[in-house]
C-alpha cells in the first residue's frame, strides 16, 4: 500500500517538475533578469512591445541578484533558460558569454546596434572575438552627490577645486556636519571613492598611455593621485574605517553629511528614502583652478539572446526593439537611469545634467579595463585603498600591488 501511494506521489512530483521546465509557447518570449524591483516597469514596456508586434508576448521572470549568474549559467548549460537574458557587462559578461551561450549580435541580425556609441557596444563585447553579445541598457556615472541645502545653510560653496574641497571640509566640520558620508568598511565603495577622486589627477591621456603599456599604476602620477586621498581623512565620518555602505547612505539621506561619493544609481534610492533631499550631482574637484575635471563612467548591463532559444526570431525582435528609442526613452525615465543609446533625452533634469557630464567622462578604469580575470583591478584597488586609509599601507605599496597583481594576466604589464 505504502509503496503504491509513494509511487503515485513520486510520479506526480516528477510530472510537476517536468512541466516547470517545459518550453515557452510559440509567440511568447521569456525575459530573465535579476531586477525583481523593476518588474512593473518592464511589464508596462513589454505591453508596448506587444502592441507594436501583435502575437508576441513577453514573460518577465526575475531571480535573486546574488544567485543570478549561477542560475542562468546552470540553465544555459542544460540548454534551457530565458529567450532574452539580462546580461552583465565587461568581465561579468565574459564569464557567461564565452561558453557560447549568447548569440553574437551584429549589423545583420540587429542593425539597431548603430544607435549605441562604440564604448557602450564595447562593454558588451568579448575581448577574444570582439563580437557584441548584448544591447547595452544603461550607463552609470560616478561623482559627488551633494546635499544643496546643507551647503546653503552652512554658507559654504560647493567645492570646484581640491583646495576648495579641503576648506569646505573644515568649514562644514566646524558646524558639526560630516563633510563626506563615505566610510571605508565596504570594499567595493573604496574602489569607487578612489576612482572618483583620482581620475581628475590622472586625466584621459594617462589612461591612454597606461593601456598602451607606456606606463603602469606604479608611476609617480598614479601614486601621487592615491596619496591625495589621504588628505580626505579628516572629511570622513568619525571612525570611518568601521563605517559601512549602509551607514554612509543613512548619514547622507538623514541630512547629517553633505557629500556622498558614489554613482548615479544612488540618486533614485536617496530620493525614495527622503523625498525632501535637495540633491545635485557634481564632478569631483579639479586638481587646481582652471584645470579640467572628469566624472567616471561605466556601462552596467545589457540584453542578450539565448543562443539555444527555440524562439530566437521573436527574441531578436525584442532585443532589436530594446535598442530603439521606443524602449530606451520610457525605460530611462521609469528606471531613473541614463540610457546607453545616443541622443536619448533625459526626463529628469538632474539625469540630464549627468548625461551632459558624460560627454567628457573618463572610464571607471578598474572595472572597464581590468575586471576580466583574477585578481581584478577593482579588487586590488579596493583592498589597497582600504589598507591605506586605515593607515597600514602606503600609496607606493598600494600602487605596486595593483601593477604586480594585474601583471598576472594583463600582458602589457608583464615585463
Amino acid at each position: 500500500m505504502i509503496g503504491k501511494h509513494f509511487g503515485r506521489r513520486a510520479l506526480a512530483a516528477l510530472m510537476m517538475a517536468g512541466s516547470l521546465g517545459a518550453a515557452a509557447q510559440a509567440g511568447e518570449v521569456t525575459f530573465w533578469t535579476w531586477r525583481q524591483e523593476d518588474k512593473a516597469v518592464y511589464q508596462d514596456l513589454f505591453a508596448e512591445f506587444t502592441k507594436a508586434n501583435p502575437g508576441i508576448t513577453v514573460k518577465f521572470e526575475a531571480f535573486p541578484n546574488e544567485n543570478y549568474n549561477t542560475i542562468v549559467t546552470t540553465a544555459l548549460a542544460g540548454g534551457k533558460g530565458g529567450d532574452v537574458l539580462h546580461a552583465r557587462a565587461y568581465g561579468g559578461l565574459e564569464a557567461m558569454a564565452k561558453s557560447g551561450y549568447y548569440l553574437p549580435l551584429d549589423k545583420s541580425n540587429v542593425p539597431e546596434l548603430a544607435n549605441l556609441p562604440d564604448d557602450a557596444n564595447a562593454s558588451e563585447s568579448l575581448r577574444a572575438d570582439g563580437k557584441v553579445y548584448a544591447v547595452s541598457l544603461a550607463g552609470q556615472t560616478l561623482g559627488l552627490i551633494v546635499n544643496k541645502d546643507i551647503f546653503a545653510t552652512a554658507g559654504v560653496a560647493v567645492p570646484g577645486t581640491w583646495a576648495e574641497l579641503l576648506s569646505a571640509c573644515t568649514a562644514l566640520k566646524a558646524k558639526g556636519i560630516t563633510p563626506i558620508a563615505n566610510g571605508t568598511a565596504t570594499p567595493w565603495m573604496d574602489a569607487i571613492f578612489a576612482t572618483v577622486f583620482t581620475n581628475p589627477f590622472l586625466g584621459p591621456d594617462w589612461v591612454k598611455d597606461m593601456l598602451a603599456g607606456k606606463t603602469t599604476f606604479s608611476d609617480a602620477k598614479f601614486t601621487g593621485a592615491l596619496a591625495k586621498l589621504l588628505e580626505l581623512k579628516p572629511c570622513l565620518p568619525d571612525g570611518f574605517t568601521g563605517v559601512d555602505y549602509a551607514t554612509s547612505q543613512q548619514l547622507f539621506s538623514a541630512g547629517r553629511a553633505a557629500i556622498f561619493v558614489g554613482g548615479s544609481f544612488e540618486i533614485a534610492p536617496f530620493k525614495r528614502g527622503n523625498p525632501k533631499l535637495n540633491l545635485d550631482f557634481v564632478p569631483p574637484p579639479a586638481p587646481a583652478a582652471g584645470q579640467p575635471t572628469y566624472v567616471s563612467r561605466f556601462f552596467d548591463s545589457g540584453f542578450a539572446v539565448n543562443a539555444k532559444s527555440p524562439n530566437q526570431a521573436d527574441a531578436i525582435k525584442l532585443v532589436r526593439w530594446m535598442a530603439t528609442k521606443s524602449f530606451a526613452e520610457p525605460a530611462a525615465a521609469k528606471l531613473g537611469n541614463i540610457s546607453s543609446l545616443k541622443d536619448v533625452a533625459a526626463a529628469d533634469p538632474l539625469l540630464g545634467k549627468i548625461a551632459k557630464l558624460n560627454e567628457t567622462a573618463m572610464p571607471y578604469i578598474g572595472l572597464v579595463y581590468f575586471r576580466y580575470e583574477a585578481p581584478t583591478g577593482t579588487d586590488l584597488l579596493q583592498d589597497g585603498v582600504q589598507k591605506m586609509m586605515g593607515g597600514t599601507e602606503q600609496p607606493e605599496g598600494v600602487a605596486k600591488a595593483i601593477t604586480a597583481g594585474l601583471a598576472k594576466w594583463y600582458k602589457p604589464f608583464q615585463k
Binding site: 549568474n69 557567461m96 571605508t184 571612525g239 568601521g242 551607514t247 589598507k387
Partner: protein
C-alpha cells in the same frame, strides 16, 4: 508462487527504510563532494569545466602569487581563531561549567542564560554585534564613552577586527561547550569529589587535578567540534566583515576565500570553480586528516585517564 524467505522480506524492508536517507546523502553530500573533487583538476570556461590540468589549481592556490599569499593568510587566521576559541571560549566554558556544578542558588536560571545565545542563528548574532560594535551608533562605544574612553571602530581596524569577530563567536557559542563540560562533570561520582574535598582539595585543585582528567571525553568532543568549526568558519565573518574579509583582508579565513574564489563577490562577478574546488578539497583533506589524528590522540588520553 513460493513464499519468499522471511529474511529477504526483512532485508527489503530495511533497504526501503534506508533508501530515502541514502538518496538524500548521496545527492546532496557525496555527489557534490565528488564533483568538487573532479572540478579541482579542471580549468573553467565560464561555468563549464574546460580542460584537465592535473594539479595546476592546487599549485596555484598553495604556491603561486597572488593566490598563495591569500591562502596562507587565511589559514593563519583560522589557526588564530582556533587557538583563541580553545583558550578563551572553551576555557571560560570550563569555568562556567564548574560554577554551575556547584549548584549555587540560581544555577538553573544561569544555565539557561548561558545557553540562550546558542539557539540564535549565527546570522542574527553577527548582525546584532555588528550594530553593537558600530563606531557611530554602537552600544559598545557609547558605553565606553560614558567612561570617557573613545572606542575604536572595532570592525574597521585591522588590529581589532578579527578579535571582535572571535569575541562575538565566543559570546554566541560559549554555552555549548559549557553544557558538554557540565554533563561530563555530572558523570563524575559524588564520592570522588567528596573524598577530594575531605582531603582538603581547593576549587583550584579540584578543577585542575581531579575534574580535568575525568572530563577527558568532553574535552575530546569540544576540541574536535571547535577545530572543525574554526576551520569551516564562515557565517560570522561573512556577515560582519563581508566576503573579502574587511578591512584589507584582516578577517579573511579559508571559508570566505573559498566562497569568493568560487562564486565571485559583489564587485567582481568572476566565478572560478577550478581554484575554488581546489581550495574546498584542500580544506576537506586538512580538516579530515587533522581532526582524525587529533581524535586518535585525544581518545588515547581518555583511556590513560
Amino acid at each position: 508462487m513460493p513464499r519468499r524467505p522471511r529474511r529477504w522480506r526483512r532485508g527489503m524492508w530495511i533497504a526501503f527504510l534506508l533508501a530515502p536517507g541514502l538518496a538524500v546523502m548521496t545527492l546532496f553530500v557525496a555527489a557534490p563532494l565528488l564533483s568538487s573533487f573532479r572540478y579541482a583538476f579542471f580549468t573553467f570556461k565560464g561555468v563549464l569545466p574546460d580542460a584537465f590540468i592535473g594539479l595546476a589549481n592546487f599549485q596555484d592556490v598553495l604556491f603561486e602569487a597572488p593566490f598563495a599569499a591569500q591562502t596562507w593568510r587565511a589559514l593563519w587566521h583560522n589557526c588564530v581563531v582556533f587557538a583563541s576559541l580553545m583558550l578563551a571560549q572553551n576555557g571560560l566554558a570550563y569555568l562556567i561549567a564548574f560554577a554551575l556544578l556547584k549548584t549555587l542558588p540560581g544555577h538553573r536560571i544561569h544555565q539557561t542564560i548561558v545557553f540562550l545565545p546558542v539557539v540564535l542563528s549565527a546570522v542574527i548574532v553577527g548582525f546584532l554585534w555588528k550594530l553593537f560594535l558600530h563606531p557611530l551608533f554602537g552600544l559598545v562605544n557609547a558605553a565606553l564613552a560614558l567612561a570617557g574612553i573613545h572606542g575604536p571602530p572595532w570592525l574597521g581596524n585591522e588590529s581589532t577586527a578579527l578579535g571582535s569577530i572571535i569575541f562575538t563567536n565566543a559570546w554566541h557559542w560559549v554555552g555549548f561547550p559549557a553544557l558538554i563540560f557540565l554533563a561530563g562533570m555530572q558523570r563524575i561520582s559524588k564520592e570522588t569529589l567528596e573524598a577530594a574535598r575531605i582531603d582538603g582539595a581547593t576549587d583550584r585543585v579540584l578543577m585542575t587535578s581531579i575534574i580535568w582528567p575525568l572530563v577527558a571525553p568532553s574535552t575530546t568532543i569540544v576540541a574536535t567540534l571547535t577545530f572543525i568549526g574554526s576551520f569551516n568558519w564562515f557565517e560570522l565573518p561573512y556577515v560582519m566583515a563581508g566576503a573579502i574579509g574587511s578591512p584589507g583582508g584582516a578577517t579573511d579565513v579559508l571559508g570566505l576565500l573559498f566562497y569568493r574564489t568560487a562564486f565571485g563577490t559583489a564587485s567582481s562577478g568572476l566565478q572560478d570553480f577550478g581554484h575554488g574546488s581546489a581550495l574546498a578539497v584542500l580544506m576537506f583533506l586538512f580538516i579530515a586528516t587533522t581532526s582524525g589524528i587529533g581524535l586518535h590522540f585525544l581518545r588515547r588520553r581518555e583511556i590513560e585517564a
